[in-house]
């Protein structure tokens, strides 16, 4: 990008909010799951030319207008806590670092709503709301780094509160979005749904009004150890059909527990542990606890210390495991609960055949979905090993899809599955929508509706 273009951007956001420093550019070419050079070069991922940090929607609008005029790609970026490569600037250009747009505009306890800029982290919003006895209906387990806009853009399906209150799409009252042509629009629910999970390909979310919920009087954590996966899974199925909606629920398999234990934590040894948190009025939590104890009667109720520690670790599960890596490759398959048992056994088979150690971690989503995450530990510094591991991870995703799962956020790595997940017509509509909103294709190119890695599919078949 020429110096004149950089000057134009400096003119919009100020010199201090534009960076072309090598260190910054490298940093902004990666997300939670860094990629080795061999992948970066095979995938053709470019480093950005410039990182721009807007302070308000007006600036975002000017930047997009400018990018449209100059045909420069723009990749919005929040906390980069996804591992699907959604914020990697495939074609270089501008990385729009949204984290400077971090104002909490209002916490309205009478109207039960909160209005924030999109670049603020969940942790900060929750802290501010907490002062008034309020909180959000759902938030990601990456709340300390994930931004409101990033979670919304990634679909915001699983997380804390999601099994009970629903995904982030159901908590949005209004979004302010800057469309690719620079036009600013305010869009209310349900029409805001188009931008939920659009991963920055249809515009940039700059502001959100979200529903607020009172912090309930009662909170309870429970955990159960199971000696076989089957009875844990049938417990989860029963729980789903009972109509009881836990506030938060996770599961961990033996390998996950073993690694956690190796890393120095005191965890019990089981084939599977289910952890859940309940909240509500005193009476309702007590009644739910009784019912859940019955549902999970095939497991052993674990000491409350473990459950409390697990709750304390809620923000850290994936990051903690990463220490054993040092790199993790995450597969995030959204599996219908009724297919969970099958999914787990198929995933284990595949990984065994490929000679991989996976640990399984899962988060309950809304409406009978279970975000199932086989985590593969590897080292991005050993390029070839990484590449093979990555292929294995893709293989696992396709196996999950074949039994009725979907992916959770498409980003870069899952874009090869879009044809598997969606039928031709649905995919065609998505592509037409993309073209309609972003005719020049400047917004987050190479993602979601566009797959540049079709060549990988053949490798998947043979591997």
């Amino acid at each position: 990008m020429s110096a004149t273009l950089i000057d134009c951007l400096s003119g919009i956001v100020g010199k201090n909010n534009v960076s072309c420093k090598e260190a910054d550019l490298v940093c902004y070419s990666s997300d939670l799951a860094p990629l080795p050079d061999i992948i970066i070069s095979t995938y053709g991922i470019k480093a950005p030319s410039v990182v721009v940090r807007p302070k308000n929607a007006g600036q975002v609008s000017e930047i997009l207008e400018f990018a449209n005029k100059e045909k420069v790609p723009v990749t919005p970026r929040g906390g980069a806590s996804s591992a699907m490569g959604g914020c990697l600037p495939m074609d270089g250009g501008i990385v729009l670092d949204m984290t400077s747009m971090d104002s909490i505009l209002s916490v309205d306890e009478n109207g039960m709503r909160v209005r924030v800029q999109a670049g603020v982290t969940f942790e900060r919003v929750l802290k501010e709301m907490g002062k008034k006895g309020l909180k959000l209906g759902c938030f990601p387990s990456s709340a300390p780094s994930a931004t409101i806009g990033g979670y919304i853009s990634n679909g915001g399906c699983a997380g804390i509160g999601a099994p009970k209150n629903g995904p982030i799409a159901l908590h949005i009252l209004q979004l302010e979005v800057v469309l690719p042509d620079g036009k600013r629009v305010s869009v209310e629910s349900p029409y805001s749904s188009l931008f939920v999970g659009a991963e920055g390909t249809l515009g940039v979310i700059t502001q959100a009004a979200l529903r607020a919920y009172p912090i309930p009087e009662s909170f309870r954590v429970l955990s159960y150890g199971f000696n076989d996966v089957a009875s844990a899974c049938s417990g989860l199925e029963k729980l789903f059909r009972s109509g009881i909606k836990p506030y938060f629920l996770t599961f961990m398999d033996r390998h996950f527990l073993e690694i956690t234990s190796k890393l120095g934590l005191d965890v019990p040894s089981y084939e599977m542990i289910i952890f859940t948190a309940l909240e509500g009025s005193k009476e309702s939590v007590a009644a739910e606890e009784v019912a859940i104890n019955k549902i999970f009667s095939f497991g052993k109720m674990l000491d409350v210390t473990f459950a409390l520690e697990e709750w304390e670790r809620k923000y850290k599960a994936e990051l903690f495991i990463k220490r054993a890596g040092p790199t993790i490759i995450l597969v995030e398959a959204n599996v219908p609960i009724v297919k969970l048992r099958e999914a787990i056994s198929r995933l284990k088979d595949v990984s065994k055949r490929l000679g991989l150690h996976i640990c399984l971690y899962g988060l309950m989503g809304y409406g009978g979905s279970m975000l199932t995450m086989p985590i593969v530990l590897t080292d991005e510094r050993r390029g070839e090993e990484y590449f093979n591991t990555m292929l294995a991870a893709l293989k696992m995703t396709s196996v999950a899809i074949s039994i009725g799962a979907t992916v959770y956020s498409v980003g870069l790595h899952n874009s090869i599955f879009m044809e598997l997940i969606h039928d031709v017509k649905r995919l065609e509509i998505m592509k037409l929508l993309k073209r309609m909103f972003d005719p020049l294709g400047i917004m987050n190119p190479g993602k979601l509706t566009e797959c540049r890695m079709a060549w990988l599919t053949s490798l998947l078949k043979t591997g």
Binding site: R113, A169, S193, G197, G404, V407, I429
Partner: protein, 458 residues
């Protein structure tokens, strides 16, 4: 502003020529009995249940299969006709009417296709009514959790197309919460499935399922939906209370909202509605305001919360009255008893604006010399669905009052429940940026504008 989307309004002779040809083709697809064009046959289709109108369709088509619909739409497109889908017509904004176009009556697509107890979903055709769905599910101890406030004879397709909220929303949210997947027929006749039956939408690309929620028949025709279902609660209880004024009512209900965890519905209404109820068969005592809460859940929790609410209420009504009130909850049935010209308007309103909204209605009705009634349903912690009923002998005054209330509600941050023909302008005023965005979607899904714009998305 021109976006290349203009409602089709060709000369009369052009219409009649193409209509005759189209008629023959429609009869070929549907059979004579399912293509209506005689004045007396068409008359019922100029009514949206709360009010009559001058808007009449040229033809009414009654498909009984998706395949028929998929052939009808391209034919209508070829003849340059405009198409409007209709469920049972319970909307209050004339969204299910057409002025000289083709009306598609979807009540023939009314089958419950599958109850999947394993996945907790039901798949139904869009013309199925809440009544028939509830009947089907109740025998299995299940429910879809929501009921429209107008009538159980409303269709699920209409409810989805209007982003429906209703009884049960405090527990289950709006229809946006429970929709898994939708089948929709586009203007070119293509049949699109928007998502997955096993998994709620989200995180796998653009959310086409939720995109159809609130689309008001302007993107395509919803023909089928897969929705989440829930076990019927162990215990349900209704408890009503009288309030001396709206402030008292609001503060009491607010306290209950904060404390009770088994609330599924909460609503209140004013003396205006009580008077209308009294004109019917229901012998309800006169009160200034009545508030009603419905609890559902595990027996012991509901019982405990009933006790709690009884301590919060100052003047609880007799349990029998509460039950009867619940049985008279459907607005269509209440309003039917009125003989005067009546206008019903529905808006979504931030919850802290209820009192102001009520006062506005009362003052404007008094100023214009018309009668009014107010009803407000808590649909979430932050929003209410408010209903204004305005009636009187003088239709002109009724109309003026309705318009003035609508303006006031929008300035309070409210939004029309649906746009339809009648509230299209209000919707544009309340959400000025929306049409521009929706036009982009419409160009993709209905590029030839077969489904029109109702003066909203234009």
């Amino acid at each position: 502003m021109s976006h290349g989307l203009v409602d089709i309004a060709p000369q009369n002779w052009v219409i009649s020529m193409s209509l005759n040809k189209a008629y023959a083709e429609f009869v070929d697809i549907l059979g004579h009995e399912n293509v209506l064009r005689e004045a007396d046959e068409i008359l019922p289709y100029s009514i949206c249940r709360y009010s009559r109108s001058e808007l009449k369709p040229a033809l009414v088509l009654k498909p009984t299969s998706v395949q028929q619909l998929s052939r009808l739409l391209p034919a209508a497109q070829r003849y340059g006709l405009s198409v409007t889908p209709r469920g049972s017509g319970f909307d209050s904004a004339m969204g299910s009417l057409t002025n000289g176009g083709i009306l598609i009556d979807l009540t023939g697509l009314n089958h419950v296709l599958k109850v999947d107890e394993e996945n907790c979903t039901i798949t139904v055709q869009s013309g199925a009514t809440f009544e028939s769905i509830a009947k089907d599910l109740a025998s299995k101890g299940l429910s879809i959790g929501l009921e429209p406030i107008a009538s159980l004879k409303a269709t699920i397709g209409g409810f989805i197309a209007s982003h429906g909220v209703g009884y049960g929303s405090l527990r289950h949210g709006s229809i946006l919460n429970t929709v898994r997947e939708i089948e929709v027929v586009l203007s070119d006749g293509s049949i699109v499935r928007t998502g997955f039956k096993g998994i709620p939408p989200g995180g796998t690309g653009y959310d086409l399922s939720r995109l159809m929620v609130g689309s008001e028949g302007l993107f395509g025709i919803i023909t089928e939906a897969t929705l989440e279902i829930f076990p019927l609660p162990e215990l349900t209880t209704n408890i009503a209370s009288a309030f001396s004024d709206i402030e008292e009512g609001r503060s009491i209900l607010k306290e209950i909202l904060k404390k009770a965890s088994t609330l599924s519905s909460m609503y209140f209404f004013d003396e205006g509605l009580i008077r209308i109820l009294q004109t019917g068969s229901f012998k309800i005592p006169y009160e200034r305001f009545i508030g009603m809460v419905r609890l559902e859940g595990v027996k012991e929790v509901v019982t405990q919360e009933v006790n709690l609410i009884e301590t919060i209420y100052h003047t609880p009504l007799h349990p029998q009255v509460s039950e009867q009130l619940w049985n008279h909850r459907f607005l269509h049935q209440i309003i039917e008893t009125l003989k005067n010209p009546v206008l019903v308007d529905e808006h979504r309103l931030p919850t802290d604006k209820n009192v102001e909204a009520y006062r506005t209605l009362r003052d404007l009705a008094a100023k214009n010399g018309v009668k009014s009634a107010f009803y407000s349903l808590q649909t979430s912690l932050d929003s209410n669905l408010v209903i204004f009923i305005v009636y009187g002998d003088d239709l002109g005054k009724v109309n003026v009052t309705r318009k003035e209330i609508e303006d006031a509600i929008i300035s309070l941050g409210g939004k029309p429940y649906t746009a339809g023909f009648r509230r299209a302008e209000a919707m544009r005023k309340a959400s000025p940026a929306l049409p521009d965005m929706l036009i982009k979607i419409k160009r993709v899904l209905d590029g030839t504008n077969l489904f029109g714009t109702k003066g909203w998305i234009c």
